[in-house]
């Protein structure tokens, strides 16, 4: 006999309640409004089965971990950086995002995963910050520090969409705990994303359904992997709006917020001056 919530239930009922508990946990996970990149938390990933005819939705730790990182204390140093013995600072490595153009470079930690362990990150939308250098009211000069305006970006008429990812199993050699870690593939920004993520001009590699399946399931030659990894979703399929600066605390962080001082995204970009030479 088993107990659930202090109530005596049969073993069969207890098993069903456990299955229900897992379903509720998965629902709450998928129903989260925002996953921050720097939480290094879990995100929802579509992972192909060995048979390559279907996939499972699983949770993976966001932030690809190479095998040479031995334990959680090394993970901390790997991600956040550390002071070396000579007193200089070793910068941390950002492996939450992986540049699509560079995945297969021979010296990249992503190469093997890009060849053998491709997956899709499930997303309902994401946030990027637009950097604008306003004018200092006192001096009339351009500010040295940018004001940052968060934007919410999604794919039109799609509550969920897929972003190319690569994953890597990682084992903590102190505890034996194994987790699956993942990196989100990025590509050059399309014109809309270049206006928003104007500091880096990058965007997630969002794949339409047919390319998503190919990315995840097919045995691909290297040039096709790079082609898909650098696929740029056209801007007319995307939608974006500015949101409040403290959107992370909002009940619905996707609610649009208009900043009077910010030029609207749909304003035409001034044409670049053609070269005279």
């Amino acid at each position: 006999m088993c107990y659930y919530n202090g109530q005596k239930v049969t073993k069969a009922e207890f098993i069903q309640l456990m299955q229900l508990e897992k379903a509720v946990k998965d629902y709450e996970f998928l129903n989260r409004n925002v996953t921050h990149a720097f939480e290094f938390g879990n995100i929802a990933v579509l992972k192909p089965r060995y048979t390559r005819d279907n996939f499972d939705i699983v949770q993976m730790e966001w932030g690809f971990l190479p095998k040479y990182v031995k334990n959680r204390s090394q993970v901390e140093k790997f991600r956040k950086g550390y002071k070396k013995k000579d007193g200089t600072w070793q910068k941390g490595y950002d492996t939450q995002n992986a540049k699509g153009e560079e995945l297969l470079f021979p010296d990249k930690i992503y190469r093997e995963a890009a060849l053998e362990r491709r997956c899709l990150i499930l997303s309902s939308g994401f946030y990027e910050w637009r950097h604008e250098y306003g004018v200092n009211k006192r001096t009339g000069e351009k500010k040295k520090t940018a004001d940052k305006y968060p934007h919410y970006i999604g794919v039109k008429d799609q509550p969920y969409f897929y972003v190319a990812g690569i994953w890597q199993p990682w084992t903590d050699q102190d505890t034996g705990e194994t987790v699956e870690t993942v990196s989100l593939v990025t590509t050059e920004a399309n014109p809309l994303m270049a206006k928003i993520h104007n500091s880096k001009k990058r965007m997630p590699t969002i794949l339409p359904d047919n390319l998503s399946w190919e990315w995840m399931m097919d045995d691909l030659p290297e040039d096709r992997i790079t082609e898909l990894a650098t696929f740029q979703l056209p801007q007319d399929l995307m939608e974006a709006c500015s949101v409040q600066k403290d959107f992370l605390k909002a009940e619905d962080p996707t609610v649009p917020f208009i900043y009077d001082e910010l030029v609207a995204l749909d304003n035409p970009t001034p044409p670049t001056q053609p070269s005279l030479f």
């Binding site: 919530n5 109530q7 005596k8 069903q16 229900l20």
Partner: protein, 83 residues
């Protein structure tokens, strides 16, 4: 996951609790959202050892809320049927 029925509200402790009916792992689950800011609660009916049915909080731990709100849900469906 399928949403089975229209969302509805029940009165509980002087507030209106929003309820969504869902099908999860082959069971009907009710998701309760409270206006006073407390965390959402999932509840479902479970058959206990003596054969009777009891409202359960999923996961465990919020049984004192699950039972009275569950009773309100039963009342809501009874009233809906008789209308």
């Amino acid at each position: 996951m399928l949403f089975q029925a229209d969302d509805f509200e029940v009165e509980f402790e002087g507030m209106m609790v929003a309820i969504k009916v869902m099908d999860m792992a082959g069971r009907t689950v009710f998701k309760l959202d409270f206006p006073d800011g407390r965390k959402s609660l999932m509840i479902s009916r479970s058959r206990v050892f003596d054969g009777s049915k009891v409202w359960m909080s999923i996961p465990e731990g919020r049984q004192p809320e699950a039972i009275p709100i569950g009773a309100k849900i039963v009342e809501h469906f009874k009233n809906t049927k008789t209308q």
